[in-house]
């Protein structure tokens, strides 16, 4: 990955084994924590179907806007027992306008592990119907309460993770190739073409990105399915991110063109293009990796910003952004319903982890810190 400068000897007394960047990353406690949390988030979002007690669309309209289901650990005599819940009932007091949920304590239903629930297909492929935990009807296990339609917030957080977490990477897979190819060609060809191409890139960069984002999102035609919309939003996010990258790549290509080893390779008869690719990629690799790690959170933020205004992922699909929007509708009562903030907290944690890992990665891959004491 990183080219070792030939003939370099570390000026330390005792010889040390050089650690790979990965090992150095892992040794840093913050980065390690970040990686672990990210792994947990991604794996649990991938396995959302079996882990979450309910599916994304499941709803019980009689138990809407409910607070988290109280879980009981003690029986009537005060002894420790296997956790159980009661079914709830909604009452409305016309004097205070308040809806309250009362537990129907005559029925107790235990929390079951590996309970048979709704059918699903993990990642659309593997069928199953066992859920990690849950309760039988008519009780509901809404650990983070339910939303306006009676859907389980906790389950939807898992499914929302699927959208919000993947959009970051998917956007990357589109933006980066575009940026690299665009910048590469521009730097490679040079001259007037280079000039024109860079002007366009600058123009894109000069439009305030947020407005570009909502402008593009607002263009999306109405009759799309949610997955089509998801794909198009990903594309839009990438269209925002490629220009800056293109400029950097172009600069690198331009400088590399004149480097000695390129001239040498040219003299040896290698086609120009292969030449550049062979030399550009390694040089820019570390930059690209760090840039990627730090671009993903920006995509996640953009998506949540979009959904927040209502232009991103739409109901009834869940994404952290549009779930947070629901919290905003109840901002006055937020102190009484703090669980509504959960999507925001998750967004924050995810971005935090990416940034932490990215930081350490940058230090780790920084050639200046390689091999110094």
């Amino acid at each position: 990955m990183i080219q070792e400068a030939p003939g370099f000897a570390p000026p330390t007394v005792a010889p040390r084994t050089r650690k790979t960047p990965w090992q150095r990353l892992w040794r840093d406690p913050l980065a390690r924590a970040g990686l672990i949390v990210l792994a947990i988030l991604y794996i649990s979002s991938g396995l959302a179907d079996p882990i979450a007690p309910y599916s994304m669309y499941f709803n019980d309209p009689d138990v809407a806007n409910a607070p988290p289901t109280p879980v009981h650990w003690q029986d009537d005599n005060g002894h420790q027992t296997w956790p159980y819940v009661h079914p709830v009932e909604r009452h409305f007091d016309p004097m205070t306008f308040r809806q309250t949920y009362f537990e129907k304590t005559d029925q107790s239903l235990p929390i079951r592990l590996f309970i048979k629930g709704e059918d699903y297909r993990i990642l659309g492929i593997i069928p199953g119907d066992i859920h990690l935990f849950g309760v039988e009807a008519p009780a509901r296990l809404f650990l983070l309460g339910s939303d306006i339609n009676g859907r389980d917030n906790l389950s939807r957080l898992f499914f929302g993770a699927q959208k919000s977490l993947t959009i970051g990477f998917l956007g990357l897979f589109i933006a980066f190739p575009i940026g690299i190819v665009y910048g590469g060609i521009s730097g490679f060809v040079g001259g007037l073409v280079d000039n024109m191409m860079m002007r366009v890139a600058e123009a894109v960069m000069s439009i305030p990105s947020f407005y570009l984002l909502i402008g593009l999102a607002a263009i999306l035609p109405a009759g799309m399915t949610s997955s089509e919309r998801f794909a198009l939003i990903t594309v839009i996010l990438s269209l925002i991110g490629w220009a800056g990258l293109a400029r950097v790549i172009r600069g690198m290509v331009l400088s590399i063109r004149e480097e000695e080893f390129v001239l040498a390779a040219r003299a040896a008869g290698l086609p120009e293009f292969v030449n550049i690719v062979k030399h550009v990629i390694p040089q820019t690799a570390s930059f690209l990796i760090v840039a990627a790690t730090l671009q993903v959170p920006s995509f996640i933020l953009s998506e949540s910003g979009l959904s927040f205004i209502g232009l991103g992922i739409q109901q009834p699909d869940a994404s952290w952004g549009n779930m947070l929007k629901a919290a905003l509708d109840n901002v006055n009562d937020l102190l009484n319903q703090p669980w509504l903030i959960a999507p925001g907290v998750l967004i924050f944690i995810t971005i935090l982890c990416f940034n932490t890992v990215g930081d350490v990665l940058r230090d780790v891959l920084d050639p200046k810190t390689q091999g110094t004491g």
Binding site: Q99, F102, A222
Partner: protein
């Protein structure tokens, strides 16, 4: 008065179904409550301030102008002084010119600045003279002789005379300066009334045929100061748009209302100051309004408004500010915030589901607007009735409005003077729905519903994006229709796109939307119910190349509704008018071109330091006037600076 009794009757009937909600935390296993709480909120005390009777005319001697005929306030005597702070949400008014105003916010500002010739009484919902002192109607019901009060002055001291009235109606409105809808609301069969001056204080209107809603439509038009506005009308019409626009000097406006425009802080606030020439007095003969200043802040949404109110930056929250989801929270804060919530009963707006019943082809593309398969379903009365019976309205209210709303089955809101109380509400009845579908030729096989030709029933449901309430409603409808075997694909789209679909492209299948209405005059909805109406959404006829709307395929009941509206418009017999509108509502109840869902409750919040706040269900206007129908008498119990 009668309306109030009707309302009380309706609500006490509903209250009889109310369950005892004060039960202990442990309910018995058999009492699952969904639906039975309906009576709850309907039985909550709706404001019931006693009707003080009509205004009294008194003669006042103004030191500057001499004799002035003033109305006497009907509330208690209050104290002078103070700044009343309220808020509206949105972007703020677009113009200061009330004749150009086409949006609610600009019209709302106009209500504060300009007095009406004739206004609607907050208790009875009937028209009464406001700038005028008397109205007389000729025996043939076509002529209205309206006499102004003596001695009235504009805010710049010039007299308000019949010239101003004639100028307003014969020039501004008749010729279509500004918002040409004003002309339409006053016209019957497309004919605008003749306006003539009888003497300095008297005006005569002559309608082409007897037009009974005429007096109720007059309040739509503020009277203009001829000496200021006439010069502009001599210029090309576009100049009028720019007259008194949002960038003009606020102090340059010449008004007749309780307040004058003092300052406009763009995007933030509008400040109004007392109009010293306002011709109303209190019971002690002192000139109103009591308040020195009236200030309203422009905020982006309701949440901010509530936060500001609780943070003591506002004194009052008008209708639409306290939503269902806010009601419980606000009620809780009454003590600590030193305010009270007032329940004004059901709002005049409606929320509904419509199915696209258009059967025509797009003349440009020669393709039918709606898939012919689906046309058959939507035009099948059994289908629509089944859909209506499958919806659980009470549960919808419980979920999206947190219980603070009333189910609706008719085009007239329950609070309307013309509400047909014979039309019975019905709860969700899936069995009835299934039977209706069978009668309609549909069969359910397994999970799916098939029409008589074997096609599975599937359609798309739209509503505007970004609105959690509509969203919640659509998800519930899709779920409930699924139980009947229908596959409903719900998609939220941008508001602009939605309007484009309903107004131009007609490319939609089912939509959930809302419209504002009127509690006092169903004729207000003519645009919606007439077959050629601009908002005849379930079967929108579009104007042809020449801009005319020609209706070729009206159904029998559509034609009947057209006829009923025409009859009601030209009949002065109140009893007959009620019959006409009752029949219209019954047709809609059975035919269900609009499947109504619910009405929200109008809840306001006022600090306990505010005096003379006596809101009524019928006295609700565009905010910021809102429920402050007697704004001139509002005062602070201890004058606040």
């Amino acid at each position: 008065m009668r309306a109030l009794l009707l309302c009380l009757l309706a609500f006490s009937l509903a209250a009889c179904t109310q369950r005892d909600t004060a039960g202990p935390p442990q309910a018995s296993p058999t009492t699952m409550v969904a639906g039975a709480q309906n009576g709850g909120v309907a039985a909550t005390a709706i404001v019931n301030f006693p009707n003080p009777g009509p205004f009294k005319l008194v003669e006042v001697n103004d030191p500057r102008y001499g004799k002035m005929e003033c109305w006497q306030g009907r509330g208690e005597s209050g104290q002078f002084g103070g700044t009343f702070r309220v808020s509206t949400f949105g972007g703020g008014p677009k113009t200061f010119n009330p004749w150009v105003a086409s949006d609610v916010e600009s019209s709302g500002l106009g209500l504060l600045l300009f007095e009406k010739l004739v206004d609607i009484d907050a208790w009875t919902g009937q028209p009464y003279p406001r700038l005028a002192k008397s109205i007389s109607i000729s025996p043939d019901k076509r002529e209205y002789t309206i006499t102004l009060r003596q001695g009235l002055k504009w805010s710049d001291g010039k007299p308000i005379t019949a010239d101003d009235v004639v100028f307003t109606f014969a020039t501004i409105v008749a010729r279509g300066y500004g918002n040409s809808s004003l002309r339409d609301t006053l016209s019957v069969y497309g004919k605008y009334p003749e306006v003539s001056k009888v003497d300095d204080l008297t005006v005569k209107f002559r309608t082409a045929v007897p037009f009974s809603p005429f007096l109720k439509m007059l309040p739509n038009v503020p009277i203009a100061p001829k000496h200021v506005v006439e010069p502009i009308t001599k210029r090309p019409m576009e100049a009028f748009q720019g007259f008194w626009d949002i960038n003009s000097d606020p102090k340059s406006l010449v008004v007749s209302g309780r307040f004058m425009l003092d300052r406009y802080v763009p995007g933030q606030r509008i400040e109004l100051v007392r109009n010293p020439n306002y011709a109303m007095v209190d019971k002690q003969g002192r000139r109103l309004p009591y308040l020195d200043r009236f200030v309203y802040a422009i905020v982006p949404d309701q949440n901010t408004m509530i936060l500001k109110f609780l943070g003591n930056e506002l004194d009052f929250l008008d209708v639409r500010a306290v939503r269902g989801s806010d009601a419980a929270f606000m009620k809780q804060k009454e003590q600590s915030g030193n305010f009270r919530l007032y329940n004004l009963g059901p709002d005049d707006g409606t929320t509904f589901l419509i199915l696209n019943m258009t059967r025509r082809e797009d003349p440009k593309s020669k393709k039918p607007y709606v898939n012919p398969l689906k046309q058959k379903w939507f035009n099948n009365q059994y289908f629509r009735q089944a859909v209506s019976h499958a919806i659980n309205r009470q549960r919808m209210i419980d979920n999206v409005l947190r219980g603070v709303g009333i189910p609706l089955y008719t085009p007239e809101t329950i609070a309307s003077l013309y509400f047909n109380k014979k039309l019975k509400p019905y709860p969700q009845e899936l069995d009835t729905a299934a039977k209706l579908l069978e009668q309609g030729g549909f069969t359910k096989r397994g999970d799916r519903l098939y029409d008589s030709e074997g096609h599975p029933v599937e359609f798309t449901l739209h509503t505007n994006a970004g609105n959690s309430t509509r969203d919640g409603v659509c998800v519930m409808i899709a779920d409930e229709l699924k139980k009947l075997g229908m596959k409903v694909n719900y998609q939220a789209i941008d508001f602009n796109t939605l309007i484009d679909k309903t107004n131009q492209s007609l490319d939609w299948e089912a939509i959930v939307m809302g419209l504002s209405g009127s509690k006092t005059e169903p004729q207000d909805g003519a645009n919606v119910w007439k077959s050629d109406g601009r908002l005849h959404m379930f079967d929108q006829r579009l104007p042809n190349e020449q801009g005319k709307v020609i209706v070729t395929d009206a159904r029998e009941w559509e034609k009947r509704i057209d006829r009923l509206f025409d009859l009601a418009a030209t009949s002065f017999d109140e009893k007959k008018r009620h019959e006409y509108f009752d029949e219209f509502e019954e047709i809609v109840y059975n035919q269900l071109p609009f499947i109504y869902l619910y009405s929200i409750l109008d809840i306001t919040a006022a600090r306990n330091t505010i005096g003379n706040y006596t809101p009524t269900p019928l006295g609700v206007f565009y905010t910021p006037l809102g429920s402050l129908h007697n704004l001139e008498e509002i005062y602070f119990k201890k004058a606040r600076q």
